[in-house]
């Protein structure tokens, strides 16, 4: 079961790597999904060592709900960005840079 912790950590770190080094905003949303899935896998791997496994499963249900809301808002913001500027390459958005 310890093995699953390392898979979860690997998934999270692949997501971090992608979120830090990709240009396209939609790809960054996809990498954030990978990070959330790594966290979910780690929660479920802990469910074996908890006295009540329902706690870990409940956390994962909440995490999936938050992930769904986050994706909706993120993609809507990206579509709004595309309407305003015509591109979604994040490094070109320097409006808040000084």
């Amino acid at each position: 079961m310890n093995f699953l912790f390392f898979i979860g950590a690997a998934l999270f770190c692949i997501g971090v790597m992608g979120a830090l080094s990709l240009r396209n905003a939609i790809r960054i949303i996809m990498c954030i999904e990978l990070m959330l899935n790594g966290a979910n896998l780690t929660f479920l791997a802990t469910s074996y060592s908890l006295p009540d496994p329902g706690v870990a499963h409940t956390m994962v249900v909440f995490a999936i709900a938050v992930a769904a809301a986050e994706t909706i808002i993120g993609l809507a913001a990206i579509v709004a960005m595309y309407r305003a500027k015509g591109w979604i390459t994040l490094e070109k958005f320097n409006l808040l840079k000084w």
Partner: protein
């Protein structure tokens, strides 16, 4: 127990491989297909560790809803000038360094704190009375039992999803003055 261990040793290879392909594939539609395959292999692992309801939710929500939502967003935002650029930023070295450092520190944390295998798999888990319960039973008991601490978070999650729905519609719809 042996069978499920074999299942997640086998299924964890496509998880990591498709996660890497999600980042490195050049075509973004190929990347989303590889993300979907990664999520399906995760659902296989969830079934192997007795999390049936989470596996079903994973298939229904991630594979069914979120991936299709991302595909629609890709369709709405065709990046014309970004097409012939490399999709990886020039600061990829920093990203890989930070990710490897994070992975090393998380692994160090796990190795130094997680209990041994015999502690992680208590013998009570294979008792007959626990095995007859499916995961949906104890999710329901944890969430909705009388006196459960999760009743208010459940209501707040529903309000949060409603707010996200309204906010998503409001952000993404065409405003009247730009019609």
């Amino acid at each position: 127990m042996i069978e499920s261990r074999v299942i997640f040793f086998v299924a964890s290879v496509p998880i990591v491989v498709f996660a890497f392909l999600t980042m490195f594939l050049r075509n973004i539609v190929h990347a989303i297909v590889s993300l979907i395959l990664c999520l399906i292999s995760l659902a296989v692992v969830y079934i192997a560790i007795d999390a049936d309801f989470i596996a079903a939710a994973q298939i229904a929500i991630y594979v069914g809803a979120i991936s299709i939502l991302i595909l629609f967003a890709i369709m709405f935002t065709r990046d014309r000038e970004g097409k012939n650029m490399l999709h990886i930023h020039r600061q990829v070295g920093i990203g890989i360094t930070i990710a490897i450092a994070l992975f090393a520190s998380i692994c160090f944390f796990f190795i130094s704190t997680v209990q041994t295998e015999s502690d992680v798999l208590p013998s009570g888990r294979v008792d007959a009375n626990i095995k007859t319960e499916t995961s949906i039973t104890y999710i329901g008991r944890t969430m909705f039992e009388k006196g459960s601490p999760y009743v208010i978070p459940v209501e707040m999650a529903s309000i949060m999803i409603l707010a996200a729905l309204i906010g998503g519609i409001e952000l993404a719809k065409k405003k009247e003055d730009e019609l």
